[in-house]
Symmetry: C2
Subunit: 227 residues, 2 copies
DNA sequence: CGGGAAGGTTTTGTATACAATAACCAGCGC
DNA sequence: GCGCTGGTTATTGTATACAAAACCTTCCCG
């Protein structure tokens, strides 16, 4: 993407993630143009991208709002992410080179180091974690898969502000990654898939615990709950 | 989407699907603006959408080309579609109302009628088929899933011009749909998933047979082949 | 007091002019 | 002839002005 357009995109995104703007709030293209310092044309491109990533939504009448995700939305995204990323892990197990596996190992050492600091360095953890997962997705060599996952992985990141990471959660993540590396080294796609599955599903539950008490436990009469 | 923008989108799309433009050919926004009769601004929006749907691609230097999909691209899309649509079928099995199941039955009668004409009415078949699958996806109540699938389902449609549908293939599709309806009526998600899986995987193979002889059967040394 | 139309204001959509960048081509030195 | 360099054209990117649509307020009439 081109300069102004790209600038608008990251500026708006940063603005949204900074938490200085409430979910559900209306935005106008003019506002965003002022904030970002470019004209409305590139802002509109950036906005379309952010709509696609579901950070922004439009009302039926084309007005622009900050998305606010329900717990069900979050769960839906986790379910889809799990499905796709398990597939990615399985494919990656067949495709990763020795060097790439070594890289994953290094990334996870970095991640582990971040976790074992006291207090744990969450930012460093998140960055290493992102890189680790991204490397796996890349190795799956499935461009559309990568494209889809890119969108879904946004979700938890967006709401991470509210999240408090316990050290034991972080440690478990590091262990999962270790096991994933082992599965890759063994070229065992089924193993990799299984580990990725539990890794992500647990992530969902720890995430859901903080983001909001689950909507309803028994008695799901409604429409769009539960898988 | 707004009027001009929407018009541009469908005009360009139709233009691409008409086959009057070769894969890999360069297009310019000006050309498209002339063809569609609107200015470049809405054309650019339409183009972005078509890029997202992978019907158009941009070179590293932002020039615009008609996408040409390799056999691997097609297979990748079928694999992803299968993964997602099996999930949709499973969810739908738990969520479809009696009326919705009846609707599916009706749609499949329509489809069967189209198949049993002689010669079979392929256009009518495709339309009923599309409606059938769409109804299932809708019933899954997973908006992002629907959004993703919408893109993937484009793929075969685009290349259908070259396709010759044999009546036996069409009949098998109709039978699959019948079994799917039975699985839904029994509220058996596993069954529905399994039927959808074989349905789509077979579709891939019959599709692949016509679109091009498979790249390589044994000896997949290359990079991005085979699942 | 309520409903609903009229008009003004805000916001999004489109056209167009211009700027920036990439592709092309010709001429020159070697 | 080959490759580079300069300028020329083609193409995409951005700003801005205007058009269309939606929203909101107010006021009028029942």
């Amino acid at each position: 993407m081109s300069r102004a357009s790209e600038r608008a995109y990251s500026a708006i995104r940063a603005h949204l993630l900074s938490g200085s703007v409430a979910a559900g709030e209306q935005l106008t293209e003019d506002q965003l143009a002022q904030i970002t310092g470019v004209s409305r044309t590139p802002v509109r491109e950036a906005v379309r991208r952010l709509e696609d990533e579901l950070l922004l939504v439009r009302s039926d009448t084309k007005r622009l709002f900050v998305a606010d995700w329900s717990r069900d939305d979050i769960e839906e995204m986790f379910v889809l992410r799990q499905m796709l990323e398990c597939h990615a892990a399985e494919r990656a197990a067949k495709r990763l080179s020795r060097e790439q596996i070594a890289t994953l190992e290094a990334l996870n050492s970095e991640l582990t180091a971040a976790v074992e600091q006291s207090p744990p360095d969450v930012v460093r953890f998140l960055e290493a974690n992102r890189a680790f997962h991204e490397a796996i997705i890349d190795a799956a060599h499935s461009p559309r898969l990568g494209q889809m996952l890119a969108k879904l992985v946004e979700a938890p990141v967006v709401l991470r502000t509210a999240r408090t990471y316990s050290q034991s959660d972080l440690r478990q993540s590091a262990r999962d990654h270790d096991e994933l590396v082992a599965a890759f080294a063994a070229r065992d796609g089924d193993w990799a898939r299984a580990v990725m599955g539990s890794h992500l599903r647990r992530a969902f539950h720890t995430f859901a615990k903080t983001v909001g008490p689950r909507a309803d436990d028994a008695a799901n009469d409604q429409d769009s709950t539960e898988a």
